[in-house]
Structure formats: structure tokens, C-alpha cells
């Protein structure tokens, strides 16, 4: 068992092994997750199954997959939902990023910077911080449960809206709890501003969605290199390649790696951050240090808590008994894209006249980041000669973790 288990990188979502060739200064991320073939599993099934099935791609970001599928299907069926339904979706997407960031920041990434084995050790070493972490985890889980029915693999979101929306009074109680916890979240996020991040800088292209506010959902992708493109043209702009050592495909744009996710969003849309988040981010971004993705996540955790409060105030008075709209099932094709916790998540479906799925394509954020992860690992090897090989490997693992890769998503 040691043989098999010892090689997997711990505290990341899914199974990956790091292979370093020190003489060539080359690192490879071997993705060893089995193939579940989600793009194939949905073929021949009714469109309504796509959000339910694709949520199972990932237990950390199921809500993101649910809404990416719904967005693509509504584009295929020419459905436009009313603003309050779109706002409830924004609340859910914000909750998803909040939930995933809390998990990654404190349970997976923080031990690297605090030199502890596991976040559970915080309970003894820093019980006050641990209590904040537990409170934030509870808030995030319960928020998704309140609107989605359960915190993992939500059931209420459907094409056209929600099967049911919660009583606004419950949402208001939740809003007030969020507000009370905001100050603790800021405190916890500031820890990440104090951490010592290994020094490395590498220029690369960053991508995020263009949105009316800080990015969550949209029809255009913005690029730090100025090469924006429409979501519907994503297949022309992002190429996927199969590597022999990986069951995940590696994405490139214009033949090169690029980065999506928290640091990309903060770098590109810094000025749209909410007030308290902006305070923490000031002077730290834009940054080309991938380790600082963790700080960007901490900033976003605060931003999205603030955002959920604003959105709950905004949906006040909406008639939630009309939680979904009627529409016609017809043939069509459509791409959709949302900001998942780890970045751009593309879903694409083609339907026949009965609403049966005949084609599907999914590109996840981690698949998009894989090329950049390997390029950064190579760079890190080049600038860390003074360290022992063991320490170099530890830093690369830390780098991989800083990206918050979701290996199960990347294979799907």
C-alpha cells in the first residue's frame, strides 16, 4: 500500500503524482484519476439530467457544474430567465465559491504555511481560528442547503429556474448571520496576507468572465493579453491536448499555458471587489506569483460573503412562488460558462428536437490551469537550486496546492 499511497499528493482534490526530472529541470503532474467519461454519460439522456449528472463530476464544486450545465442548456433552448432568478443563481454561485474557498484555504492550503500536518491540528494549536473556520464552513454549507436543498449535489436548480425557492424570512436570517461573521472572516483572511509566500514571478495570460459586477456568469471572456473572446467561441480559443501520462487533458491558448481562477479574477477585476475585500487586497495585486492565488482566494472569500448580503437585499420582494418559467423543448446547441471557484467552467450541449443530448463538451478550470502548473513547477526548479531536492519537491507540491487543483474535475 505504501507504494501506491505514498506517491499521491496529499491535501488536493483527486489523485495526482509529481514526477520531477532534476537533471532536465522538468516537472510533470501525472493525473491518475480513473476515467468516468461524463461527456459520454449524458449522451442519449434527456437534457434535464445534465445538471444532475454533471454535478457528480465534483463534490467540492457541484453547484458550479449544475449552473454551468443550466446556462449552456438555456442557451441551447433560447431561454431567458427573469432577473430575480438570475440573482438567486448569483447567490448560489457566490455561495459555491465561498464554500470551496473555505475548504481549500483552511483545510488544504493553510497547513503548508503553518507547518502543521492537518487543519484538525489547529483545534489544539489555535482554537480561536479553528472556531472561525468551523463557523465559516457551517455558514457556507447551510447557505447552499437553504437554497439548493443540500450542500453537496443540490436539487432545486433546474433549467428555467428553481423547483422551489426558500421563504425570504429564512434568507434574511441567513443574511444577518453572514453579516455577523464577516468581521471574523476578514480576520481569517488577513492571516493569508501575513503568510510568507515563496518568491516567484512568471508572466502569463489570465482569463476571467466579463460580468456586470465582479465575475460570476457572462457571455464574454476577458484576457489580460487583450485577446477577449465570446463564450460561444470557446472551442476555437482553448485547445485541449491528451498527454500520455495523464487522464486529464491539458489546455492551451495560442499554444501557451494560461491561468484562470481567483488570482486571474482579482488581477483582472480588482476594482470590482467589494469594500472589505478590497481593503485586504490593496497593494498585493496584480501579482504574477502563483502562490498568491491563496491570498486571492482569501480576498474572494470576504468579497463573496459581502456579495451574498448585497444580493439577498436585492431579491427582497421577488415573488418566489414563480420560481421557474415555462419554455419549449426544441433542438439546439449552446455553450455556457460560469466562474467556478477554480475559474472558468465551460459546458456545451447539443439537443435533438425531443431534448435528448446528442453532444456534450466540458472544459474545467483545472484542465485549463494544468499547462501553467507544469510551467510554474519548471520555473520553480530553475530558481531553487540552493535548496535540497526534498525541499524543492516540497515547494512544488505546495505550488500545486496553491493552484487548488481539482483533479477529479480535470478528468471528469
Amino acid at each position: 500500500m505504501k507504494e501506491i499511497l505514498g506517491h499521491y499528493i496529499t491535501k488536493i482534490e483527486g489523485h495526482g503524482k509529481l514526477k520531477v526530472d532534476f537533471s532536465k529541470e522538468r516537472a510533470e503532474l501525472h493525473v491518475d484519476e480513473g476515467e468516468r467519461l461524463f461527456e459520454g454519460l449524458v449522451l442519449g439522456r434527456i437534457y434535464e439530467d445534465a445538471p444532475l449528472i454533471s454535478a457528480r463530476i465534483c463534490g467540492v464544486c457541484p453547484t458550479a457544474h449544475t449552473f454551468a450545465a443550466i446556462d449552456a442548456l438555456e442557451n441551447a433552448l433560447d431561454i431567458k430567465v427573469p432577473e430575480y432568478i438570475a440573482d438567486y443563481r448569483r447567490i448560489m454561485l457566490s455561495l459555491q465559491i465561498f464554500q470551496s474557498h473555505v475548504l481549500h484555504l483552511f483545510f488544504l492550503a493553510a497547513p503548508d504555511y503553518l507547518n502543521i500536518d492537518s487543519a484538525l491540528d489547529l483545534a489544539e494549536k489555535n482554537p480561536e481560528v479553528f472556531q472561525i473556520v468551523l463557523d465559516l464552513k457551517r455558514l457556507a454549507d447551510e447557505g447552499i442547503e437553504l437554497i439548493g436543498g443540500r450542500s453537496i449535489h443540490p436539487v432545486t436548480p433546474v433549467v428555467g429556474g428553481f423547483t422551489k425557492l426558500p421563504d425570504y424570512r429564512k434568507l434574511l436570517l441567513y443574511r444577518n448571520r453572514l453579516e455577523k461573521n464577516l468581521v471574523h472572516a476578514v480576520e481569517a483572511a488577513k492571516l493569508f496576507a501575513k503568510f510568507h509566500y515563496p518568491h516567484m514571478e512568471r508572466e502569463r495570460e489570465y482569463l476571467s468572465l466579463q460580468d456586470s459586477s465582479y465575475p460570476l456568469i457572462g457571455e464574454e471572456v476577458v484576457s489580460s493579453a487583450g485577446k477577449n473572446f465570446k463564450v460561444s467561441d470557446y472551442q476555437k480559443n482553448i485547445s485541449e491536448k491528451v498527454n500520455s501520462y495523464s487522464t486529464a487533458k491539458f489546455s492551451t491558448k495560442d499554444g501557451k499555458g494560461f491561468m484562470v481562477g481567483s488570482i486571474a479574477r482579482v488581477n483582472l477585476k480588482f476594482q470590482l471587489l467589494n469594500k472589505m475585500a478590497l481593503e485586504i487586497a490593496k497593494g498585493q495585486f496584480p501579482s504574477n506569483n502563483p502562490f498568491k492565488n491563496n491570498l486571492a482566494q482569501a480576498v474572494e472569500m470576504v468579497h463573496f460573503m459581502e456579495e451574498i448580503i448585497l444580493l439577498i437585499d436585492k431579491v427582497k420582494g421577488a415573488d418566489v412562488s414563480a420560481s421557474r418559467i415555462n419554455y419549449e423543448v426544441k433542438s439546439g446547441k449552446g455553450a455556457g460558462c460560469i466562474e467556478a471557484p477554480r475559474g472558468l467552467l465551460f459546458h456545451y450541449y447539443e439537443l435533438n428536437s425531443k431534448g435528448i443530448i446528442v453532444n456534450c463538451d466540458i472544459i474545467t478550470p483545472t484542465a485549463q490551469n494544468l499547462t501553467s502548473i507544469e510551467d510554474d513547477a519548471d520555473e520553480l526548479l530553475k530558481i531553487s537550486h540552493h535548496l535540497s531536492r526534498k525541499e524543492q519537491e516540497r515547494q512544488i507540491e505546495m505550488l500545486i496546492r496553491a493552484y487548488d487543483p481539482c483533479i477529479t474535475c480535470s478528468v471528469h
Binding site: T10, E33, E35, L41, C58, G59, S118, K137, R150, K164
Partner: protein, 253 residues
């Protein structure tokens, strides 16, 4: 308690949603830490023991050779093995297609020469003996708590033998079937507290088949409501799949 129970949590190929329910225990994790010691959990710890374990929870489907080799070793080094969630217990979502379809889909997705490491998706029980099954996609914290506390106190665990309808009736929900709408409540194992029907969504069976459910008879009714093709699709989600049909039994009685 002098000797803490040594617990391991393993994940094979899957979404990791079930094991996250352990983290959702939150404060209870600290209480649990008084009686159990988690000695292997790749997702949450850097230092992991290789056993022996008193109890091993295994989540996910064995879809790589590593997965298959690992579960055999886990079986040898563990007192009890618990299948955590539908992927482990029933072959889950990856199991909804046959091995032939899997090969064709893999070539479509990865290219024409692509070879799958594991062609057919089986539940854990195909490879090793399982002591207890926790169903659900994902499993509920309530059931996890029941199992973990049972292990601590040495209770005999008994799986829930009733369908979702029982919980749905207790919540006084309107019956979707009586409105001629599809719902898999009568043949689906309970434990979710009738989550979906309570939010006006049909039950799609994510706790797998209920013990003793008359699946064939129910399917006849479902065909009348949604037609044969859609009835087949709805059944081939969590209620039945090619490996359950091949082995001609529910792997988690």
C-alpha cells in the same frame, strides 16, 4: 477511552463529495477525536499510516489498477470495511453505462487508440467483502454519524429497510405519483428525509434501490407515466445499472 479506534478514509475515482461529509461534522470532529483517531486520510492529512486500521471507509469506484490493488490491501489490513456512498456501493454514476459503451465513449473523448485501464465499472463488493454499506449520492451526515457512533460503542448496525415514501408521507408532502408525475420514491431506499419531493423535485433514486422493492412492477407504472425510453433512463441512474444486472443482485442488501 484508552485505545482509540483507528479509522482510515480512502477515496478511489470519484467526486469526493461523500468524504467531505466528514468535514461537515465540524465541532463533532473534536468530540470524535476523543474516541477515534484518523490515521489515514489523503484529502486532509500529509502524514498517513499504512495500517492496520480498525475501520476503513472507502469512497468511489475502482477505475484504475491502483484503485483495485489498493482496496485489496485495505481489506487485508482493516477490521471492518465500509463502502461509503453509491459509487463504492453500487458502481454509481460511472456505472450507468456498459463496458462496451465505456470503451466507445473513451475513444470518442480521448482518441481512437485510447485504452481504458479498467473497462467495466463494478462496486467494491465485486472485488472485496464489504461489512457495511452507506448509501447516498452524497451520503448524509446523519447516517455517517450513526455508523461512526455505532463503531465506537460496538453497536450492531442495521441498514434502513424502508423506501423514501415513508419519510415523504411523514413530511406530509403531496404525492407526485398521484399527480401522474414521475417519482422513484417507492423503490428508493430511505435516509434522505425525502429531500427532493419536499422541494417539488421528483425523487431520482440517489440512495439506490430499497430492500425488497418490486422494481419490475414499478417500472411498468413508470412506463405509463413517462414512456419506455425515459423510464429506462430514469431507472438506469441509481436504481439499476449494467453491473447490478450482470451480477443479478443488489450488491448492498
Amino acid at each position: 477511552m484508552k485505545n482509540k479506534i483507528k479509522v482510515a478514509i480512502f477515496d478511489l475515482t470519484d467526486c469526493e463529495g461523500c468524504e467531505l461529509q466528514f468535514l461537515a461534522f465540524r465541532e463533532k470532529l473534536l468530540d470524535l477525536a476523543k474516541s477515534i483517531e484518523i490515521t489515514n486520510w489523503r484529502l486532509a492529512k500529509a502524514k498517513n499510516d499504512n495500517g492496520p486500521f480498525d475501520v476503513a471507509f472507502i469512497e468511489g469506484s475502482p477505475l484504475t489498477q491502483d484503485d483495485i490493488e489498493m482496496i485489496k490491501e485495505i481489506r487485508q489490513s482493516s477490521g471492518a470495511v465500509v463502502a461509503l456512498g453509491d459509487c463504492a456501493s453500487l458502481a454509481g454514476i460511472p456505472g450507468i453505462v456498459s463496458s462496451g459503451e465505456r470503451e466507445a465513449l473513451a475513444r470518442k473523448i480521448y482518441g481512437k487508440n485510447y485504452e481504458l485501464a479498467v473497462k467495466k465499472v463494478y462496486p467494491l463488493s465485486h472485488y472485496i467483502n464489504i461489512d457495511y454499506h452507506i448509501r447516498g449520492c452524497p451520503v448524509t451526515q446523519k447516517e455517517l454519524e450513526y455508523v461512526v457512533s455505532g463503531l465506537i460503542w460496538g453497536k450492531v448496525l442495521s441498514p434502513k429497510a424502508y423506501p423514501v415514501c415513508l419519510e415523504c408521507k411523514a413530511k406530509e408532502n403531496h404525492c407526485l405519483l398521484l399527480e401522474d408525475k414521475p417519482c422513484l420514491g417507492p423503490i428508493t431506499k430511505g435516509g434522505c428525509d425525502a429531500l427532493c419531493p419536499s422541494v417539488s423535485h421528483r425523487c431520482y433514486g440517489c440512495f439506490g434501490p430499497a430492500k425488497g422493492a418490486n422494481i419490475e412492477s414499478f417500472k411498468k407504472h413508470l412506463v405509463e407515466v413517462v414512456g419506455r425510453d425515459e423510464a429506462n433512463r430514469q431507472m438506469h441512474f441509481f436504481i439499476t445499472n449494467p453491473s447490478m444486472e450482470e451480477e443479478n443482485k443488489d450488491p448492498s442488501p
